[in-house]
């Protein structure tokens, strides 16, 4: 049994730029995707995620590096000889064929017998909950239904790997959420490796076993959703996934697994977890998630830290918004730096002032394990 479903080995892809020169779409990416894994390529548009997927599908060939599918180096193998199938962003259903003809197309290419094809088409349409729709034309179906047909058409081939290029991008939010769960359940049911391209971080976090966060052609971090969110390895990942605050400063002291940072424009120090290689005196940013901050009136009483200890700051509330489950506050430091703080509403009071109010003076405390120190860039 081969260990990896798909490997990208130091893959680079350059395109000629219409305006002259070349664009590097994928920049020396190495990714190993395990069998049965739900793997997402996540990043903003133009980050190289779709190009990576198209290279795995065989629509593009790497400029250098190698795509390996099930231990077979693909080289310039054309798409019709690869053991992968794709669900296209635009679905790309064959408009002149019925739904059943669309789904059976791939099986006809394998020259299977007619009864076998009919049986599998029927099963595939049932799997995506579209039984009895076989005789309709794609245009007669809703966007969500067309999406399911595209899925059935690819899955009916029983590929080793299913490639999905933003398949939910055209659906409305509610349907999207439903389909996310359905897709995940389907993937567990069929046990096929899914490689899923999306720019929607929530979607990636919900569905994936592992995620590769990409930007400007590079795979910046590869890891489980928890790792990506809790321990982003660079500023881009911390910023792109979820919400965060950045405080800038310089490394003052490095210990094993700990780093002390003196903050810019503030006579304060913070202790945090170093992310990546750091050295003394380096300009760094500290990433702090807004929901991982404690905001209290009296830190000694509430948390047991003295007011002049590291990671503890006096602040003033600039604006506060009560949104039910939590209260979202923007606070200002003495240096003028601002931070978002989200506090869960544990209390239940009818007095709006009981939560937080504009102009309120308070103390912030950020536990060191919630302060991630990373290189400025």
């Amino acid at each position: 049994m081969d260990q990896f479903a798909v490997e990208m080995r130091d893959v680079m892809k350059r395109f000629p730029n219409p305006g002259g020169g070349e664009i590097t779409a994928v920049d020396h990416v190495t990714i190993k995707i395990q069998n049965g894994e739900f793997f997402s390529l996540l990043g903003p548009s133009g980050c190289g995620k779709t190009t990576s997927l198209r290279m795995i599908a065989g629509f593009e060939w790497p400029t250098s590096g190698e795509i390996v599918i099930q231990d077979r180096a693909m080289g310039r193998t054309p798409p019709y000889l690869r053991p992968v199938n794709t669900v296209f962003q635009s679905y790309a259903l064959f408009q002149h064929m019925t739904i059943a003809q669309n789904v059976s197309f791939g099986l006809e290419m394998e020259h299977l017998s007619k009864p076998e094809i009919d049986k599998r088409v029927q099963a595939a349409l049932e799997m995506v909950q579209l039984p009895g729709m076989g005789k309709r034309k794609p245009r007669q179906l809703s966007g969500g239904q067309q999406q399911r047909v595209a899925l059935a058409r690819a899955l009916v081939k029983r590929p080793a790997v299913l490639l999905l290029d933003e398949p939910l991008g055209a659906l409305d939010l509610k349907l999207r959420k439903e389909m996310q769960l359905e897709l995940k359940a389907l993937q567990e049911q069929v046990g096929i490796t899914f490689i899923y391209v999306t720019h929607d971080q929530e979607e990636a976090l919900t569905m994936s076993d592992r995620i590769a966060v990409m930007d400007k052609g590079k795979a910046l971090q590869i890891g489980a959703p928890v790792e990506i969110y809790e321990r982003p390895n660079c500023r881009f990942v911390a910023d792109f996934i979820g919400e965060t605050n950045f405080l800038s400063g310089r490394v003052k002291e490095l210990e094993a697994g700990r780093v002390t940072v003196s903050l810019n424009n503030l006579d304060r120090e913070m202790v945090g977890l170093p992310q990546g290689e750091l050295h003394n005196g380096q300009a760094v940013v500290i990433s702090i998630r807004p929901e991982k901050i404690r905001m209290v009136q009296d830190p000694v009483m509430s948390i047991g830290v003295t007011k002049n200890s590291p990671n503890c700051f006096p602040v003033r509330v600039i604006t506060s918004a009560y949104i039910g489950s939590d209260t979202r506050v923007i606070v200002e430091f003495a240096s003028g730096a601002r931070m978002k703080v989200w506090e869960q509403n544990h209390i239940s009071s009818l007095d709006p002032q009981a939560y937080h109010f504009d102009g309120e003076e308070a103390w912030l405390f950020v536990p060191p394990e919630n302060s991630l120190v990373m290189a400025e860039d």
Binding site: A57, F59, P79, Y80, A92, F94, H96, F105, M109, A154
Partner: protein, 303 residues
């Protein structure tokens, strides 16, 4: 403007204008009236004239005698005329087939080059229309005649020993017809080919279809509407064409178009020419209907 509908007003002198203003169904007629008037004046009336004319008779001096009869039509069943009719059908059909065979790869190529080159190539397809048709046919005569460009070229190359006799043969007529009608095939074909998303072909390849299979199963069926539109645009005028056979076919090739023109201009037998026109009209109509029905794309063509 309150109550224009609910309060009926007594009709006065300007009833029609009032109706036009206030009633939607009259507004519709008013809006479409220029087209209707145009069609009545320049299509329906002349057509009726020809219909009536086809049932009249020719006088001794080429005048029209008002005596209703069916002689003109029965004369068309003369084997001589039937042969001309079937020959014309054959030439028009062959012209259509050849324009498809040449036009399809051309349209496919234009639809696949980068967008900037596309408009340039389409422009080149249309450039010949800037010159008068007759002049372009004379250019072809210059190319094809025995001391023409083609023969001189081939003789000098040593490919042939004696000049080819192309001009004033059915082949020359076919060349002229294909040349004239090619753009009418290429443009609708291009339009339908250009609409096919690359993703559809990628999907076919992804599902295991080799490029040739992808073409047969995806590209070809999706381009059928363009092929039908092009065929109609080529077949109908090819059926009535008389300039090309006149200039390039010599006396050997007589098509229905020549027959009809000769009745009107040379033989001065207008009623017989009118009958020929009616039969030509009917044949074209029937063939077009059968063709579109068979292909099952009739509706999409109208859109």
């Amino acid at each position: 403007m309150e109550g224009t509908k609910s309060v009926p007003r007594p009709a006065r002198g300007l009833g029609l204008i009032k109706k036009l203003r206030e009633q939607p169904e009259y507004q519709g007629w008013a809006l479409i009236s220029p087209t209707i008037i145009y069609l009545i004046l320049f299509l329906i009336l002349p057509l009726l004239l020809v219909v009536v004319l086809s049932f009249l008779a020719r006088g001794t001096y080429g005048n029209v005698v008002y005596r209703l009869n069916l002689d003109n039509y029965s004369r068309l069943f003369d084997p001589l005329y039937l042969r001309i009719l079937s020959y014309s059908l054959g030439v028009a059909a062959l012209t259509t087939v050849i324009t498809i065979l040449i036009g399809y790869p051309l349209a496919y190529y234009i639809a696949r080059v980068p967008e900037r080159q596309r408009s340039m190539l389409l422009f080149l397809i249309l450039v010949p229309f800037w010159t008068n048709f007759i002049i372009r046919i004379y250019a072809w005569i210059m190319i094809l005649r025995s001391e023409g460009l083609l023969n001189t070229f081939l003789l000098n190359l040593g490919v042939i020993d004696a000049p080819l006799d192309i001009l004033y043969t059915p082949t020359a007529v076919l060349i002229g017809m294909v040349y004239e009608f090619l753009p009418f095939m290429v443009l609708p074909l291009y339009t339908s080919l250009e609409k096919i998303e690359m993703a559809q072909l990628e999907a076919a390849a992804d599902l295991g279809a080799r490029p040739w299979v992808g073409f047969l199963r995806i590209t070809l069926p999706l381009s059928i509407p363009g092929m039908i539109a092009g065929s109609i645009l080529v077949f109908i005028p090819a059926m009535g064409m008389f300039v090309v056979p006149d200039l390039m076919g010599g006396a050997k090739t007589v098509l229905v178009g020549n027959l009809i023109r000769n009745q009107f201009l040379t033989a001065r037998d207008w009623p017989f020419g009118a009958a020929g026109s009616m039969v030509l009209l009917l044949i074209t109509l029937v063939f077009t209907l059968i063709y579109t029905r068979k292909a099952g794309f009739g509706e999409e063509l109208l859109v």
